[in-house]
């Protein structure tokens, strides 16, 4: 099973000097899937995309894209993959339409032949077709880059952090667009540092410092959190945070929006009992409006637990 699928990675490793960018990564993307690589900068997401786009060769391990080997069959792969790099990589001095025609011609096709596929995206920037790409707004550049990656009707779309630095509204609209593309049968691999966007994928790989922490459906990832989880609210916030951290049985305490997510080391105890204990302890501290609720852990909760609550430590620094 693991050697079929639009993308199959087997123990892929890539280093740059002393830096290990990818550490034995294995994963399989299924046909027609919207697959997410989720994790912060330095996780290895961009290196992985460059290997899939045949721009980098792995040190060891194997990678196939659409059934072809990324090292041996790179020319076959390149014509069938659409790749949108994280950095704007179109020609700023060419107009919107010139960029599109250029990318179409490189792949031996034409704007007209690819038009129906890119139409839902391209229509939004078509009124500016004579404007130089360098003079577009950030959102329009993104739409042009996506159009250029799609114009040759690829079988696989690779999108490296298309929503980084993009506001919450435009991000939602971009994911709506990906849903439309997926519905046309395209397989999509997309990376993002925003944990909340993972919910929009069929399956995600959580990546941190070159390693895959977990691969699963978003709904199943939360279940990897190892303890019962509680949302704690109250005022003042800083006093509440200190009080939670001071609890002798606190396992993790993290701010989450207006609440704090708290987990307890007494995993054998019933969640309701833990909630009551925490509530009693906090009420003794003169905090206002304290409330403790059992909640289902989300992807960000699981991610932090899986990374061991210990972010990357620079070289030469005692952990």
């Amino acid at each position: 099973m693991s050697d079929t699928g639009p993308v199959v990675l087997h123990e892929v490793r890539k280093t740059f000097g002393a830096t290990v960018a990818l550490e034995s990564v294995s994963l399989t993307v299924r046909p027609g899937e919207l697959f997410g690589l989720v994790g912060p900068d330095g996780g290895g997401k961009t290196t992985l995309f460059r290997i899939l786009a045949t721009l980098l060769v792995p040190d060891s391990g194997t990678a196939t894209v659409l059934g072809r080997d990324v090292v041996r069959d790179l020319w076959d792969i390149r014509s069938r993959v659409g790749y949108m790099p994280g950095r704007f990589s179109l020609y700023p001095d060419l107009s919107v339409e010139e960029n599109l025609r250029f990318f179409a011609s490189v792949f031996g096709t034409s704007l007209e032949r690819g038009y129906d596929l890119i139409k839902p995206i391209y229509q939004q920037i078509e009124p500016f077709r004579d404007r130089r790409a360098g003079q577009l707004s950030g959102g329009m550049k993104q739409k042009l880059a996506l159009s250029c990656a799609l114009v040759h009707r690829p079988d696989l779309l690779l999108l490296d952090e298309p929503t980084t630095g993009v506001d919450a509204v435009s991000r939602r609209e971009f994911w709506d667009l990906l849903d439309t593309l997926q519905a046309s049968g395209l397989t999509i691999v997309v990376s993002t540092p925003y944990m909340d966007e993972a919910d929009r994928c069929d399956r995600v790989a959580l990546m941190q410092q070159g390693r895959v922490l977990a691969i699963d459906a978003p709904s199943a990832i939360g279940a990897l959190f190892p303890r019962p989880l509680f949302a704690v609210r109250g005022r003042p916030r800083t006093a509440l945070l200190d009080a939670l951290r001071a609890l002798p049985t606190a396992a993790s305490v993290h701010p989450f929006g207006e609440a704090f997510h708290y987990s307890d080391t007494r995993t054998a105890l019933a969640p309701a009992q833990i909630a009551q204990d925490v509530l009693d302890a906090l009420r003794a501290r003169n905090l206002d409006g304290v409330d403790v609720t059992t909640i289902a852990p989300g992807i960000e909760d699981a991610f932090m637990a899986l990374m061991g609550d210990a972010p990357g430590v620079p070289v030469g620094v005692p952990a």
């Binding site: 950030g138 506001d167 919450a168 609209e173 207006e258 972010p311 990357g312 430590v313 620094v317």
Partner: protein, 247 residues
């Protein structure tokens, strides 16, 4: 009550385009103020005016007690600024970056070495004093950049998307540094695309098409819009504009 930032009908036009349209904002000393808005809403233009890098077309702004138009040198001496991508020199070591910025802000050699040691100790970076900044993980870089932006003890610090791409644990540590700075009396003016971080601010404003469409504490804004989260408030305010503007 003293105001760290007092903005009255601040406006900036580029030709016929009104990037910032008569915004008024007051931020109290020691407040953590979230300055939210969609891409292209005018946030960066407004911040450039507040840090004295761009002349307002109309209106006035006082930052740290000085007028940004007529006393921009005085303003710049009393503020810190940190952008998402470029703040420190990757090709210099941690120590060299501290020396460079300390020098730019006119600290004495003694101040640079005392405050530099405090800074590095506070970040637990002692072992990395001579590491090139470019070799540090992003989260550490951003924490270091924030500390360096505070080196000259500014009254107000401007943070432009400081946590973009930073891992979830370090992102939260960064916010604890923000709280600690505010507790020492530094006023923090911060932008972010993480809506959970918006909830951590004392007060926030949401900019839409050059204007301030809403302002208040996170609780006030959620009550005003009958929304469970700031994310929802943001989407309701910004979505119609995004649709119309085609950005």
């Amino acid at each position: 009550m003293t105001l760290a930032i007092d903005v009255q009908r601040l406006t900036r036009r580029f030709g016929a385009f009104v990037a910032v349209d008569a915004i008024s904002v007051q931020v109290k000393t020691g407040e953590v103020f979230g300055f939210l808005g969609a891409n292209g809403a005018g946030k960066t233009t407004a911040i450039k005016m507040l840090i004295g890098l761009l002349e307002p077309t109309e209106g006035s702004a006082q930052v740290a007690g000085y007028d940004v138009r007529t006393q921009s040198e005085e303003v710049r001496r009393r503020i810190g600024y940190m952008s998402q991508r470029f703040s420190l020199y990757d090709d210099l070591t941690v120590r060299e970056n501290i020396q460079l910025y300390g020098g730019i802000y006119g600290l004495t050699d003694d101040e640079i070495s005392t405050r530099g040691a405090e800074l590095v100790g506070g970040l637990h970076l002692d072992g990395a004093h001579d590491a090139l900044v470019g070799t540090l993980p992003l989260g550490w870089k951003q924490k270091l950049a924030f500390s360096v932006a505070l080196l000259h003890r500014p009254l107000v610090v401007f943070l432009d998307e400081p946590t973009g791409g930073v891992d979830p644990v370090t992102r939260r540590q960064f916010w604890e540094m923000i709280y600690a700075a505010a507790a020492r009396g530094t006023t923090v003016f911060v932008t972010t695309h993480y809506m959970d971080e918006a909830e951590y601010c004392d007060r926030l404003s949401i900019m839409v098409d050059g204007r301030i469409a809403a302002m208040g504490t996170p609780a006030e804004l959620k009550a005003e819009f009958g929304a469970p989260t700031i994310d929802e408030v943001f989407v309701r305010l910004a979505r119609p504009a995004a649709m119309a503007g085609g950005v």
